[in-house]
């Protein structure tokens, strides 16, 4: 067994057998798949929760109040932020490999627990659901950077780009899987327990067994997490220099030089150049960083923030939009389980036709068109289509025009994924100096998480306050701002990391020596 495990890494590099690469893609991608399933499946069941627990009378079906809906949808993102900080600290302390088992077990337990949310009255069910969704997000927050780490560590040296792209695309499949599970479960329950429409019989339209539907859909999220755990346990510990794969070798060497004595002879010919090279040695909160990279960091963080406002609000609440314009039939014409089925079918169709193809277009073209162009084009078309929906809004609500609305709406998803959703992940890893790269990427990612929370909590309040048409206009403005801030981010296509971040070979060598001197170490010359 141990011998077989050890052979896997050798085969990964030699690239003799495709089976190993497929296995590595699945194992690395299962983390993203699980994250996407768990984060987005809640939007499929919130309507059903409203029908079951917020029955109000006989004129219209129950629905969640804005604050409750925002809480249920958004509490997982609060957990994601907290988990990312906690497991990031823990990973630094004891190595990331040792904590990924914990994040996955946390995800398994909380997926099952959220389906088993308990209590003898509806208030307790909703409260415990929020509680376990928070901890599910906590585990996801820990798992996301670990999935990215495993992705970089198991990437074959020769086909790294394609590998990372395939792994990233697993997110789209996670969303697809959520919709598929909801379709299957709701179809089965609809066939087993026929019920009249709400307007026919308000009480009987929600069968008691409907309570199982949302629980099964949520608990199913434990299955990919368990598979991820099982497969990762079968993989051996990483046996490659991740610093080389992630192009952080210079950073590692600089850190090591701070604790060593540096030979002065090797640097002798560069002593006179020290003054001109000092500009490269700056920390995160310095004027030099601000002048050289401040706008870049602002650009990457703000674009990620703005993207996630639009992206997560559209993803989590697209069913409300479809109901409002009439693409999903009016709630009173369906029973509870039928509503889940139609919502899941609509969302899965959008994912299948827009989200997933968008990822693959990015994969194919990102090195041809460049990151800047893709992000600019993505934000531009998202803006155009959002305004195209909002400005003639009355036209789309007329009978027979819903398909046009849905097509334009799905195109915003396509250009989100063939656009900023992918590039905001790639660019921060490329344009900053090695010394600060992970910090800047973390800042940008945190801004993205903050945008997700704004999107999750802000959307419903906005829609209830100013209506759907004006909400769409707000999202269009958000996309337009993203387009403007894209101009702050430089193009990194075809450039080495050193060229992009302004580091040259000689400068790094001089910087290494200077950092050693700054550390107060003895610079020793041998006689």
């Amino acid at each position: 067994m141990a011998r077989d495990q050890l052979q896997v890494l050798n085969a990964l590099d030699v690239a003799k057998t495709q089976w190993y690469h497929f296995t590595a893609i699945v194992i690395a991608g299962m983390g993203f798949f699980t994250d996407a399933y768990d984060l987005f499946c809640i939007s499929l069941v919130t309507k059903l929760l409203g029908r079951i627990y917020y029955f109000e009378g006989h004129d219209k079906p129950g629905s969640l109040p804005s604050n409750v809906s925002a809480a249920i949808n958004g509490v997982a993102f609060c957990g994601t932020l907290a988990g990312q900080l906690f497991f990031g600290w823990l990973g630094d302390k004891m190595g990331r490999k040792r904590v990924y088992g914990m994040t996955l077990m946390l995800m398994v337990i909380c997926s099952i627990a959220s389906g088993l949310s308990f209590g003898k009255d509806p208030k307790a069910v909703m409260a415990t659901l929020c509680f376990f969704r928070f901890w599910l997000g906590f585990g996801i927050g820990g798992d996301y950077p670990l999935s990215a780490t495993i992705m970089s560590e198991y990437a074959n040296k020769k086909t790294r780009g394609a590998f990372i792209a395939a792994v990233f695309a697993m997110q789209g499949f996670g969303i697809l899987a959520g919709g598929t599970v909801a379709i299957v479960v709701s179809s089965a329950f609809k066939a087993l327990y026929p019920a009249p429409a709400f307007q026919v019989n308000p009480v009987l339209s929600t069968v008691p067994q409907a309570d199982y539907v949302w629980r099964i859909i949520l608990m199913f999220g434990a299955l990919p997490a368990l598979l991820t755990y099982y497969w990762r346990m079968k993989m051996p510990e990483t046996a490659r220099y991740t610093a080389l794969v992630a192009k952080n070798a210079k950073q590692a060497a600089a850190d090591m030089s701070k604790v060593l004595q540096v030979e002065i002879e090797a640097e002798q010919e560069k002593v006179e150049q020290l003054d001109t090279r000092k500009g490269n040695e700056f920390g995160l909160f310095t004027k030099q960083f601000l002048r050289r990279h401040g706008l870049h960091l602002l650009g990457t963080a703000v674009t990620w923030f703005l993207l996630d406002i639009a992206y997560y609000s559209q993803n989590l609440f697209q069913k409300d939009i479809f109901s409002t314009i009439g693409w999903i039939p009016e709630a009173k014409t369906m029973n509870a389980i039928e509503e889940v089925f139609k919502i899941a079918r609509a969302q899965t169709l959008i994912a299948l036709c827009s989200t997933v193809p968008g990822y693959w277009f990015t994969v194919a073209l990102i090195d041809k068109m460049g990151r800047f162009t893709i992000q600019l084009m993505g934000f531009f078309f998202m803006t155009v289509f959002m305004f195209a929906l909002a400005i003639p809004y009355h036209h789309w609500t007329m009978k027979g025009n819903q398909i046009g609305f849905v097509v334009l709406y799905s195109l915003t998803f396509f250009f989100a994924n063939f656009g900023p959703n992918a590039t905001t992940f790639v660019v921060p890893a490329e344009i900053f100096p090695a010394r600060l790269r992970s910090t800047c990427h973390g800042i940008s990612a945190a801004a993205g998480k903050a945008g997700a929370m704004v999107g999750a909590f802000g959307y419903l309040y906005t829609q209830n306050a100013i209506g759907l048409r004006n909400t769409l206009i707000v999202l269009g403005v958000v996309n337009f701002l993203g387009l403007l801030f894209t101009f702050l981010v430089p193009e990194s296509k075809g450039k080495s990391l050193e060229e992009m971040s302004g580091e040259a070979e000689e400068e790094t060598t001089a910087a290494t020596r200077e950092s050693a001197m700054e550390a107060g170490l003895e610079v020793r010359s041998s006689v």
């Binding site: 141990a2 029955f55 906690f86 308000p202 952080n248």
Partner: protein
């Protein structure tokens, strides 16, 4: 378990840890012949982490024939199922471990490509177990695929005489040093020399170990400068020297890296050992004269425990518990997580008890489909019964 003067056993010449399933660690020791009454031996001992000691009796023993000579070096395959022993008669032998710890056996096999190749100073397996390398006293360097034994490199004049060698973490490079102080890097996939490490004329590179931490792509070398021994660090993407530091006070005779890459250990010719944390290159453990006045021949970190195995001709094999900061245990992390979980549970409960207005639940007795137990057992006709929505008298 040192040697007594009256002990009938021969001196320990080499040893190694053997990692077994279920976090079990064994130790293999090689003993040379002493006179005519004590033959050369290979012994397997079990290691008790609670008492940090080896078992008093070997689990199994293998007696080498007189014409086979003495064991010179041992390399254990990462799978823990077999090991190769270099013998003083100029051949290498493969030994396979059979059975559980209660009835363990050693089975010897011949390795045809390694017969009669001359005395080997160093033998080693790559980290993934797919390569095997042998460096001879005559300077002949061989790299082979394992277990097929296909020759990757066969260089008769690699060095004046091989002093030390090590595989890189990703099995891409082999570093080897010579008794004349030079060091070379070999590209394993192509079987060709890649570069020679730079050094000053008064420096002799003696020992080399690749980093085992994936985030630190370095090669650590023990360099003798006059009568001072320093540890130099080379970066493996450019093979430039980053810097050096003096860690051990006497000349270093042996070097080892822990399996997780956090610690580097040096043993000296006077019997000292020191353990250094790699991140800060700071000494965390120093034992003076652990092997009093004797050259330490072998030194290795235990897989999974902060324990060192050291051997010398005079004092035999010793296991030393290291005084380094304890790593977080798994259960401690789970305890922290559980604490956070319970704390947030309390916070949620307090919010729950004081948040009626937040949930906005409508009042009313006629709520449909409230959760109840065993709804499938209900009679369908009972839907019209008004009692279904209220408490049921059992």
């Amino acid at each position: 378990m040192g040697n007594d003067a009256g002990s009938p056993q021969g001196p320990v010449t080499c040893g190694s840890w053997i990692r077994r399933p279920e976090n079990l660690n064994l130790v293999v020791l090689g003993r040379s012949r002493r006179g005519n009454s004590c033959p050369s031996l290979l012994e397997i001992f079990s290691f008790d982490p609670k008492t940090t000691s080896l078992s008093t009796c070997p689990l199994t023993t293998y007696v080498l024939e007189a014409e086979e000579g003495d064991p010179v070096a041992i390399a254990v395959h990462p799978s823990g199922d077999d090991f190769v022993c270099a013998l003083s008669n100029g051949s290498c032998k493969l030994f396979e471990l059979y059975g559980r710890e209660t009835n363990m056996k050693l089975l010897a096999k011949e390795l045809a490509p390694l017969q009669g190749i001359g005395p080997q100073k160093c033998i080693a397996f790559s980290v993934d177990g797919s390569k095997f390398a042998a460096g001879g006293l005559d300077g002949h360097l061989r790299i082979m695929e394992w277990p097929s034994m296909r020759v990757i490199l066969d260089e008769p004049r690699a060095h004046k005489s091989v002093r030390d060698m090590d595989f890189s973490l990703d099995s891409e490079f082999l570093a080897s040093t010579s008794t004349d102080g030079s060091a070379r890097i070999w590209k394993i996939e192509d079987g060709v020399p890649l570069t020679t490490l730079s050094r000053n004329s008064d420096e002799k590179i003696e020992l080399c170990r690749f980093s085992m931490d994936g985030t630190k792509p370095f090669l650590f070398c023990s360099v003798q400068k006059g009568d001072t021994s320093v540890t130099a660090v080379y970066e493996i993407s450019t093979w430039n020297k980053i810097g050096h530091k003096r860690l051990i006070r006497k000349s270093a005779s042996v070097m080892s890296i822990s399996h997780d890459g956090k610690y580097l250990s040096l043993g000296s010719k006077d019997g000292d050992i020191c353990v250094v944390e790699v991140k800060k290159m700071q000494i965390y453990h120093y034992s003076k004269r652990l092997h009093l006045g004797t050259n330490i021949a072998y030194l290795e970190f235990c897989p999974g425990e902060r324990v060192l195995l050291t051997t010398s001709v005079e004092w035999g094999a010793l296991v030393t518990k290291l005084t380094v900061p304890k790593d977080w245990k798994e259960w401690q992390i789970y305890l922290v997580l559980l604490g956070l979980f319970l704390a947030s549970a309390v916070a949620f409960y307090i919010f729950f008890e004081n948040s009626d207005s937040f949930w906005n639940f409508p009042m009313g007795k006629d709520q449909p489909a409230r959760p109840r137990f065993k709804p499938v057992l209900k009679d369908p006709q009972s839907y019209d019964d008004q009692n279904i929505w209220g408490p049921v008298d059992m």
